[in-house]
Symmetry: none
Subunit: 452 residues, 2 copies
Amino acid sequence: MGPAGRAPSFASLAVGDEVVRGEVADTNGARLARWASESGLRPGPRATVGDDERDIARALRFLLRLAEVVAVIGGLGPTPDDVTREGVARALGLPLAERPELRRALARLYSRRGMELTSAQLRQASLPLGAVPIENRVGTAPGFWLQAPPRAEGGPGRYVIVLPGPPRELAPMEADVRALFRAWFPEVRPPVERRLQVAGYGESLIAERVARALGAGAAAPGLRLAAEYAAAGVTFATYLRAGAVEVRISGPPEAEAAVAQAAQAAEAALAPWVFSHDEPGLAPAIAKAASARRVKVAVAESCTAGLVGAALASVPGASDWFRGGVLAYVDDAKRDLLGVPADVLRSFGAVSAEAAEAMAQGASRALGADLAVSVTCFAGPAGGTPQDPVGTVYLGWADGARTGHVRRVYHGPRDAVRERAAWEALVVLWARLHGLDPEGSAHAARRAAGPS
Amino acid sequence: MGPAGRAPSFASLAVGDEVVRGEVADTNGARLARWASESGLRPGPRATVGDDERDIARALRFLLRLAEVVAVIGGLGPTPDDVTREGVARALGLPLAERPELRRALARLYSRRGMELTSAQLRQASLPLGAVPIENRVGTAPGFWLQAPPRAEGGPGRYVIVLPGPPRELAPMEADVRALFRAWFPEVRPPVERRLQVAGYGESLIAERVARALGAGAAAPGLRLAAEYAAAGVTFATYLRAGAVEVRISGPPEAEAAVAQAAQAAEAALAPWVFSHDEPGLAPAIAKAASARRVKVAVAESCTAGLVGAALASVPGASDWFRGGVLAYVDDAKRDLLGVPADVLRSFGAVSAEAAEAMAQGASRALGADLAVSVTCFAGPAGGTPQDPVGTVYLGWADGARTGHVRRVYHGPRDAVRERAAWEALVVLWARLHGLDPEGSAHAARRAAGPS
């Protein structure tokens, strides 16, 4: 256990040939580091080894010298290359023992699935002696944790927690893992953090506004916040998250009041574009606003071809407010399904403010929606005009009798342009649901400064 | 140097507080592992440590015990927290020495940028004694490599290669790194590999078919391939990749003929469902087939709400064959925009074979398409019926005068069901473009064995 007042150190070990070969990106290490740091632990080294019992044991012993808690992730399945149980047992000098309650649970699970419980699958019921199982609500192999025995590397009392590798099995264990951290280190208080989810501005402008709101001249390297924040250890950072910007304002456990005050000041500086505190992503915020205001929403997509609709429908219960849309990828479809006048397409082209507004109006009409957004763009690699090069996006909106549009130019490959365009369509929807100009004040400032 | 005939082992160490805290995903380790394995090296352990000189030294010494080549990535910049040079020098017991040619290069670079060359920036000109610089064409800090001196951990002769962390600086060094691997191990030839991209079957059935085609009874653990493959060292593996299954058949450099023969046998066993050799993902294969056959494609999506259309439009030039679609999220839209008869919706419900087929016909009509696919499902978390629980997906197709459907049941959270459904819609499109039954023979076999 960490000395009182010091954050216990945390390390993790990812296991898997496919991770070592670079075929699968290891996102679990970062995820665990987040859970640990939000629980007041101090994330430290991470390692990755292949499905090899000796390598697992060697790496775990190495990490136990460096950290008070080591998470081992992956290699818990029933196939012969899953040897994490054996590697952990070897590192700690413990035998593996079959657990009757785990055997019964596995038997029930396989019988429900109409499958035979083979000896390979039974391996999942064996844990190092003294380990405590952690329920796997999605897959077959339980996780487990144990305290290193006397004479283990790094000294006794260190914690080893072993978790399944597939993210869909690991994610549901978050609450269990956080509860263990709290139980192991009851004296550790997590750092204080407040989050703001912000739409309608670029990340650097948001950082600048927050820096100013907290008393610094600008968001330059080495920036100094106002004395009351600096003295309390308050800092902030911005992250691109789920198509918007997340501002995190944090400080040590005892700085709760200063962090809250700083978050308030930052939110005031960013109003009215803070769409949520903790939940990232505009789609849930749009769902809330549309449900509350009984606004029915529709989309008309050309280059994004479904990215906007798919994002909206990812919110459970979307049918209460999302009616659907039209993917008008070719001009005929824009004309026939959305009623975009043929002479608009002829005179201005399908990628134009005029076409975007007509598309939004058409979607609103065709789907009986109160609010519609449209996207049309030159996603590349070919296409574009001298005025509207590849990367140019027009987003239209129709909102009762009013219509409007915004124009953006993005850089990057085809799918990056399409993704940015879809994110911006969500900003437009959110803004119109709140009676705001979708340009946002920051965009307006950027346009005043010259072409984007 | 590795003994002749054995692949030299490779390990990597990522350095950076932001990586350790989980704020930045470490994609560099996977990238280096790929470069190494494609050069005939054998990727092994990876580790990640924060910006701490002693941790870097400790982890590098640990990895030098395990691998003949260790790449250290990140922490080379001019700021005080960039201490990788110091950590590497400490691990190898070498002093740092300023290199006049690097000092001159830095002075030129900073003067071109109109910036002063401070002592902090000058640190980038110091390398461990005996290191050979690797040019950084994008950033300021050069990479370098060196051979471990006698008495270093792991024994003399091991290689340490140190590279910058920002991917845009690292990526341009790929050719240099590969050239070094070749120069260090001239006798090592990369392994031989053939790939097959397969649709329409589940991963385990594909593994089974390949195992049989290569002379093994089944894809069971410890499987033995036919003698001619086993003797040549041919192996295979399957991966889920971009919504389909990738089969990789590989062997040592001298097994080229055996690998080619095995790939042919596997392809014959999987015909006609091999849609590509090296390019993963069904959308490009659909694009090729639809363009070649001059077939116009449309989609009708309910629960996926754009995922299918967005995948199709990710292929450049999709407007040649993709006309668009209708996102009929609510029943009204299925009736009004797709002409699904009201009594079909009433009698069978919106998630039914009848509705799916009518949706596909409607999309084909509305968008003037030769081939349309539809998706309607209970994505959850609420909904479903006793016969069609949450996770049930109906995919309809309309193809000239013919229509049909397939039914699937997927497990997992809402977005996983939607994603699987969208992948399956691509399988249906690809199958119909090739005159195949979208069930696939494997699905038919699975259905015969009982409910999925």
